[in-house]
């Protein structure tokens, strides 16, 4: 069992290292993620469009606010589940 | 040969009648008289509907109706042609008789779960007619599977372990072969883009490689395990555990006849006479079924249980029908097709007699039947008529078909096949005459009083026996089976 687990883990590791060869270098400003128009758009327009200086906040609450709604749903689910699992009284 | 095609919903109705009846049977399960009343009503309506299409068929027309297209290019279509009508008339007429007989049998033995019995019976009949009227392989497969499933509860009816095991065997053989049938159906569709039956076979099949064609043919024949070809026959004797009317249904009316019907349909309407001839497949298959004919007869010799002996006789006789279709001459095909209803009527007579013996005299084994004819003379006379038919002696109809088969084999210069037919006739005589002899001429072990089966059972026996004789004395009665067969033969051979 342990051996099998080790095998799977090493396989995963090998895949990760394999992918690592082509990943953009650390701190590379030419990386596709940075150069894509999306990132540039956010840096340029975040303040004018949402009035927040923190671009992360602007993204979290505005451009990708819907993700954040999903996030609250996750917390709600977890809370509900923990309550259901651990509470003795009827719900 | 040009045939006019008529659009009509009648074939659908003929199929649906018993399906509707089955619901009514279920609904009135608590009132036996009403329940069985519905069965009768449905049986008569069905026969009427089937019969109503006969004049058109005799006029050389076909009737089609497309119900629904289940998948693109795969419609559920019904088409009535002469060959289908032949089977439909046989099945629907015999349903009336089996119903009457069932009532007598089931009530006499006070069987349990009679509602389920009549329900499944009705569904099985729907499926049989569905098979008869299918216009393509998919429709046929639909009803083929329905027939298997609906007859399973009938085979396992008594619910003992033995019966359930027999039922399982039945299911495994038939569903397993169903898979082969499905496979070959899809294969045909894959190669030709159609699964419709055609009088001269599906043209596209001639184009596929010969090895594939042979493989396809073998898969199809495995798919027709309902016809009881020899390596796949053993479900048939096992299924004898079922109540006798079911055996009659299985072995004469619905299941096995549906099996050979399917086999013949495939041979003549999918592959077609020309392709069978040019590929040489007919000869191999003819030898193959010959083995079944001989071997099954030998098996039958060794059976003491009357129903089992009849079962093996069925295995052997069914192969006659297929052999007929394989003898790709008009005479051979006539013999094969004609044998289908003839065999059905004669075999059902025999089975109903066996059932009458079980109900009245409580006897199943041949060795116990010394002098039984003194107790039940009418039954045993009917039995003798059926037996003579099987052997191929007048007055019953068997000799007519055998004559055509011999003629077909002789035309093709296949003396081996001629020999097979003759040997098998001898073997038939060898296993039927002892029964007749024991029943009529052996001294009974103790005094037997005249005591016939109940009227519900006796009347059907007499009717089928009389019809069996009529085949022999007046085979070409107008509008009768011979006329239908000759149209069917003209269809597939392109006119004589």
């Amino acid at each position: 069992m342990k051996l099998a687990a080790l095998f799977v883990v090493i396989l995963t590791g090998a895949m990760l290292i394999y992918a690592g060869q082509d990943l953009p270098a650390f701190g590379d400003s030419e990386s596709p993620a940075y150069q894509h128009r999306m990132t540039q758009y956010f840096i340029e327009n975040a303040e004018s469009e949402s009035g927040v200086t923190n671009i992360v906040t602007a993204l979290l609450a505005n451009y990708r606010g819907y993700d954040t709604l999903g996030e609250t749903a996750v917390i709600f689910t977890a809370g509900m589940s923990v309550l259901m699992l651990l509470r003795r009284r009827e719900l | 040969m040009v045939t006019d095609n008529i659009q009509s919903i009648t074939p659908v109705l003929a199929v649906l009648v018993s399906a509707i009846a089955s619901v009514l049977i279920l609904a009135f399960g608590r009132y036996p008289n009403i329940r069985e009343g519905w069965t009768f009503v449905a049986a008569f309506i069905k026969f009427g509907l089937v019969l109503s299409m006969l004049p058109l068929i005799l006029a050389g027309k076909t009737i089609t109706y497309t119900l629904v297209e289940i998948l693109p290019n795969i419609p559920i279509t019904f088409k009535v042609d002469a060959f289908g009508e032949l089977f439909a008339i046989t099945a629907s007429f015999l349903w009336i008789l089996t119903t009457a007989y069932s009532i007598g049998y089931m009530r006499s033995l006070k069987e349990h779960a009679q509602t389920r019995y009549y329900f499944c019976f009705a569904i099985a009949l729907s499926s049989a007619i569905g098979i008869a009227y299918s216009a393509n392989l998919v429709t046929l497969f639909l009803f083929y599977e329905m027939l298997t499933i609906s007859t399973y509860p009938l085979v396992a009816h008594i619910e003992t372990k033995e019966a359930i095991d027999a039922g399982r065997k039945y299911l495994v053989y038939l569903m397993g072969s169903g898979v082969a049938l499905l496979f070959s159906t899809i294969l045909v569709y894959y190669y030709t883009g159609t699964t419709d039956f055609a009088f001269s076979g599906i043209a596209g099949l001639a184009l596929i490689p010969k090895a594939t064609l042979a493989f396809l043919f073998v898969m199809f024949m495995i798919g027709c395990a309902k016809a009881g070809f020899m390596p796949l026959h053993s479900w048939l004797p096992a299924a004898m555990i079922a109540p006798t009317p079911v055996s009659a249904l299985l072995h004469a009316v619905a299941v096995v006849t549906a099996g050979v019907f399917t086999a013949v349909r495939i041979i003549l309407y999918i592959f077609g006479v020309e392709l069978m001839k040019s590929s040489g497949l007919w000869l191999y298959m003819a030898y193959f079924v010959s083995i079944t004919i001989i071997l099954a007869s030998i098996y039958a010799l060794s059976q003491n249980n009357l129903k089992k002996r009849l079962a093996y006789s069925t295995v052997s006789q069914l192969s006659y029908i297929v052999l007929g279709a394989l003898l790709i001459t008009p005479h051979g095909i006539t013999g094969g097709m004609l044998h289908m209803p003839y065999h059905a009527f004669m075999k059902i007579t025999l089975f109903m007699c066996a059932g009458a013996l079980i109900v009245t005299a409580k006897k199943e084994n041949i060795s116990e039947m010394n002098g039984i004819a003194r107790q039940m003379p009418i039954t045993m006379i009917a039995f003798t008529i059926g037996a003579l038919g099987m052997i191929g002696m007048p007055p019953a109809g068997g000799y007519v078909t055998k004559w055509y088969l011999l003629l077909g084999a002789a035309e093709l210069d296949q003396m081996i096949l001629v020999g097979v037919l003759l040997i098998s006739a001898v073997l038939n005589a060898a296993y039927f005459f002892p029964v007749v002899y024991i029943a009529f001429f052996k001294e009974p072990d103790h005094e037997l009083k005249y005591n016939e089966a109940p009227m519900f059972m006796l009347v059907p026996i007499v009717i089928t026996a009389i019809i069996s004789i009529s085949f022999g004395v007046w085979p070409d009665a107008p509008g009768f089976f011979y006329d239908i067969v000759s149209i069917a033969v003209a269809n597939v051979t392109g006119g004589i």
Binding site: M38, E90 | A156, I186
Partner: protein, 502 residues
Amino acid sequence: MTFDIITNNLPALTVIIPLIAGFLTPIIGWINRKLCWYHVMLTMFIVFLITASNLLTVINTGTIHYQFGGWAPPFGIEYVIDLLNGFVCIIIAFIGLMVSIYSKESIKKELPGKTIPYYSIYLLLVTGLMGMTITGDIFNFYVFLEISSLTAYALIAIGDRKDGIVASFNYLIMGTVAASFILLGIGYLYAVTGTLNMADMQNILPTIYDNKVVLAALAFFMAGFSIKVGLFPLHTWLPDAYTHAPSTSSALIAGLMTKVGAYAMIRFMFGVFTPAFVIDMTRMTEILTWAAALAIIVGSVLAIAQSDMKRMLAYSSVSQIGYILLGVGLANVIGMQGGLLHILNHAVMKSALFLVAGAIFYRTGIRNIHQFKGLGKRMPVTTTVFLIAGLSMIGVPGTVGFTSKWYLVLGSMEAGMWIFVLIILASSLLNLAYFWRVFDNIWFGHPHEVEKIKRDEAPLSMLIPMVILAGLCIFFGIFAYYPLHYILEPLSNMLLGIGVLP
């Protein structure tokens, strides 16, 4: 005019309505516990209507694009409804509706003290599945994946059986592995493309297919989704989870979770990567077909070995998932149609079967199929539903199982993979073996016992959804032409890049 705000936002409402309703459930339950059921049923009904309207719009006018907050993609999150997710959404909504109707009595008996969290989590599960299906944004997909996973763990653990908790925990660990792989894959794709929008990504990816990161991302996605759908040999969480969950949870999860997982697999293979990449360059589809073929056989064989009805059905799910993925992996139009059709078919059949198992458990407390003797007399309607759904699973013509089998066999022939033809046909015989065993026990019990048994049918609110599902098993078996012609045929062409969008 006033309806504009609703009609314009229908795609979002598919997800938002169950989400808000899920949040509201505790409040409604606090007012009156009995209202919860009506609340859930009404919500599911509305969601069903919306998905139906969405699907009709897609069929008639083409793909729907909906932008959250008005931010154009790739900056904001976009919902894209095309034939594929329109089709899956309506299945989710319909099965969700059926199971919610069924829940009323079943919950009363199995989870008496936990009505409110059950219904709340139920709606959130639907939200999660719906969100996963409908979204066009890859990270948004992950968020909803986690909602659906968490709710599924909770629904499995909710029962009183302690095995359920262990099963839930094992599922949680496996699910977390899967979700982490998927998150990693998303990160990889983001690193090399810089976008999160699926369509945008699909435009960028072909230029960088020689990048090793892309291949690794595909591998991680496939591994992650294989766990999610329970593809053999990553199915180990599945049987326990399905077996020990409460009846309604099993029906919902078995009917939907794996289907949405399969959907996600299809979406990622053909909607994020391109057919050329997964079919020709990496041969991922080929690997998938072999794994699926193995799953079909192993799942069926293991199902035969079970005597617990729900466990048997769970293993049968393992095999049926193989059908879906086999069809998809064949990568030809016919096989694809078969696989997609089987998503619908299997959702209908499996939900019906699990509902039947639940109804039998509800009335008799029995789950072992050897104890089913005489059940045919006792619960005729329930067992008839079981018969129909079981025959469907076997693939008897006239039922849904036949239609997908037909396409899968034909697709395998088209691909020249005769071994798959053999496997599909053999598996239908294996299905026959394990279902017939149950049929035999139900209808051919000892006659002496049978006579004594009185009719004791499940309550009406449980019967209705079962009967409807059984009806659909036959309906789509006979009228498979409609989904095939209007949805699946153009869809398969679209996925494989043949022809254009309708």
